[in-house]
């Protein structure tokens, strides 16, 4: 099954969180931190102002050896931008409730306003059981952390805003190229996700030529954190099946 490049979402702690740990038993899992979110490249990346910049960055800094591509939320948007630019570079594509494509009309927001809502509201909308929330870091959340952690969280929010403020969490030019993504694709949504509604992920899957849509019950926007066992089984079997 070789290796997996997993692109992280906004507000999620760095590294192999949740289901990414068991996945790493079977394949090499790389979870790079996006430039702007606390990396050596933050300073150089201050001029980058689109998710296309991040896609270009990852495409030019990974070698040509076959690998699986995955992304969650904001990372899912980056993965889509990479897949339309280099459709044959990756063996499979796994998307977890990705942002990036606007599907409804101008007066209907597709996504919750994650750059306005309070952390408690994001947890409420993003988890099937908000009381079990873990591995998220936002300004003031969780309570009681040192100032330096919150400064990091604010800086992460600023980076996200730089990439995704307007048009909000989507690129109007992305949808017209989705037909190029012919590699096997798995789109995963949590039944209780109110940051990116499951119907959005389902409709997006319909626009991808080789996509299967799976809705996981009893989970929200972060199924790899909230239902790590189910997520691990689902993704492992998908990656295994597609590389036979």
């Amino acid at each position: 099954m070789n290796s997996l490049l997993f692109l992280h979402d906004a507000d999620v702690l760095p590294g192999p969180v949740g289901a990414l740990r068991p996945l790493a038993h079977d394949l090499h899992v790389d979870v790079p931190r996006h430039p702007g979110f606390g990396t050596d490249l933050d300073e150089a990346a201050t001029a980058w102002d689109s998710v296309g910049d991040l896609a270009q960055h990852y495409l030019t800094t990974t070698d040509d050896t076959p690998r699986h591509l995955a992304g969650a939320g904001f990372g899912g948007w980056i993965a889509l931008e990479m897949a339309v630019r280099a459709p044959h570079r990756f063996t499979t594509l796994t998307l977890v409730s990705p942002y990036g494509v606007k599907l409804s009309g101008p007066t209907e927001p597709d996504f919750a306003d994650i750059l306005l809502l309070d952390p408690t509201e994001i947890v409420e909308l993003g988890w099937a059981d908000p009381t079990t929330c873990h591995d998220l870091r936002m300004p003031g959340y969780p309570a009681g952390l040192p100032d330096s952690d919150y400064e990091r969280a604010f800086a992460d929010r600023a980076a996200l805003a730089r990439y995704a403020w307007k048009p909000f969490l989507h690129d109007p030019r992305l949808r017209r190229w989705l037909h190029l993504i012919t590699i096997p694709t798995l789109v995963i949504a949590g039944s209780h996700n109110r940051l990116v509604p499951p119907r959005h992920s389902a409709a997006l899957a319909d626009l991808l030529p080789a996509a299967r849509y799976v809705e996981l019950p009893h989970t929200g926007h972060y199924p790899y954190l909230e239902r790590p066992d189910e997520f691990h089984r689902l993704v492992r079997s998908f990656l295994k099946g597609e590389t036979r």
Binding site: L116, D147, Y150
Partner: protein, 403 residues
């Protein structure tokens, strides 16, 4: 000292339960609570008060906010056009146009030049970054706010001062042909005012020699900002800045007795209600540096909004009292900070027009003559803020009147 009349033109008829449900009056307030007939009456009333203030000898200030029941001024240049048309004498201070929230700096350059031309040079031109929450109505990226502010300023001042067609292919703004008609009436352009407290903005204002305005800060914070300006200006080789480079805004109500002034002046507290905005609106991503954002998170910004009515009066942020009491406070403001312009927010909330008019008339008769001479002979005075006397170390100021 120059004295400016100002009202934000609030719409004071939103039911308290609606204000509560929408976390205040600003940015996210459904416009079903606006009544067009009441709104028309309010506009006429507010413009009538500007007219009276002009006749009484005040200069005049206008501003703008967006999607807000606390301000019906939607464009500072539009308001200035109305005020210019209603008045004959006073200067009209446009404070200010929120440059990063405007799509087109060229249009700002044209509108200010038009106002200056029509009024025969009565315009003072304020540029502001735009308060944090207005990032949401404008939808301009808060991360770029400061850079857009500076680039828009650079483009506007070039559009006013170049005398030939030029092109501007910048970072945020792109024009292939720029040649603004009319040119401003004042040469090279109307005086520029900036409001703000951040170190970067104060230093930038000082290096350009523009007038720096502190809105509703404590006198200590105001003096600290002005100190940074004076040090920066003189270090850049400018002559010592006089009081005409410094402005302060206070809320104001005078009445014949202290009790009357305090009874009516309490209505000014409408403007200083503590904000109930979400943190994301009070401190949008990238608008502040991360350390300042953490200060906002922990409630260390906006301290003025948590002060009591009595403490605000004692601090002189609310100039409320008899003419003698308010005159004394304004003298203290001048001696402490060296401000040569005082913007008086003479109205807030549901204060009646008669209350405003009585105050304006009394102020003009008894306070204005006493404080107007302040600062005219500053070079002969030995006040604490003169650069050769003031050796207090410069330090950063947190935004004390956060919106």
């Amino acid at each position: 000292m120059r004295l400016y009349h100002f009202t934000e033109m609030p719409y004071p008829f939103v039911p308290p339960e609606a204000e509560h449900a929408h976390r205040g009056l600003k940015y996210f307030m459904p416009n079903r609570y606006y009544d067009p007939v009441l709104g028309h009456q309010l506009y006429q009333r507010y413009l009538d008060e500007y007219e009276l203030a002009d006749e009484l000898g005040f200069d005049l200030m206008v501003n703008e906010h967006h999607q807000s029941a606390s301000t019906l001024q939607v464009s500072a240049t539009l308001s200035a056009a109305s005020v210019v048309h209603r008045t004959r004498r006073g200067r009209v201070l446009v404070l200010g146009t929120p440059l990063p929230h405007r799509e087109s700096p060229i249009r700002v350059a044209e509108e200010i030049a038009y106002l200056d031309a029509v009024s025969g040079g009565r315009i003072d031109c304020g540029f502001v970054r735009g308060v944090q929450g207005e990032t949401f109505p404008s939808n301009q990226n808060p991360v770029h706010n400061m850079d857009m502010f500076i680039e828009a300023h650079d483009l506007i001042t070039q559009a006013w001062t170049r005398d030939d067609v030029f092109s501007w292919e910048g970072t945020h703004y792109h024009y292939r042909y720029v040649s603004v008609w009319p040119r401003p009436y004042q040469r090279p352009h109307p005086p520029i005012w900036i409001s703000g407290t951040s170190t970067r903005l104060v230093e930038w204002t000082a290096r350009h020699g523009y007038t720096l305005c502190n809105l509703l800060g404590t006198y200590d914070d105001t003096a600290t900002s002005f100190r940074l300006y004076r040090r920066t200006a003189t270090a850049a080789g400018h002559p010592e800045p006089g009081p005409d480079r410094f402005a302060y805004m206070a809320l104001c109500h005078v009445a014949p007795t202290e009790q009357q002034a305090r009874d009516i002046g309490r209505k000014l507290m409408y403007y200083l209600k503590p904000g109930r905005l979400r943190l994301g609106a009070a401190s949008p991503p990238g608008y502040f540096p991360p350390a300042s954002a953490v200060a906002a998170l922990q409630g260390r910004l906006g301290a003025v909004r948590r002060m009591s009515y009595e403490d605000l009066i004692d601090a002189g942020i609310l100039l409320v009292g008899t003419p003698d009491q308010v005159t004394a406070q304004i003298r203290r403001l001048y001696e402490h900070t060296g401000a040569g312009h005082l913007i008086l927010m003479n109205h807030a909330g549901d204060m009646t027009s008669n209350e405003v008019r009585d105050h304006l008339t009394l102020f003009a008769r008894e306070v204005m003559p006493a404080v107007t001479p302040l600062g005219t002979d500053w070079r002969d005075q030995d006040t604490t803020w003169r650069v050769d006397r003031d050796h207090t170390p410069v330090r950063a100021v947190l935004s004390s009147a956060l919106s």
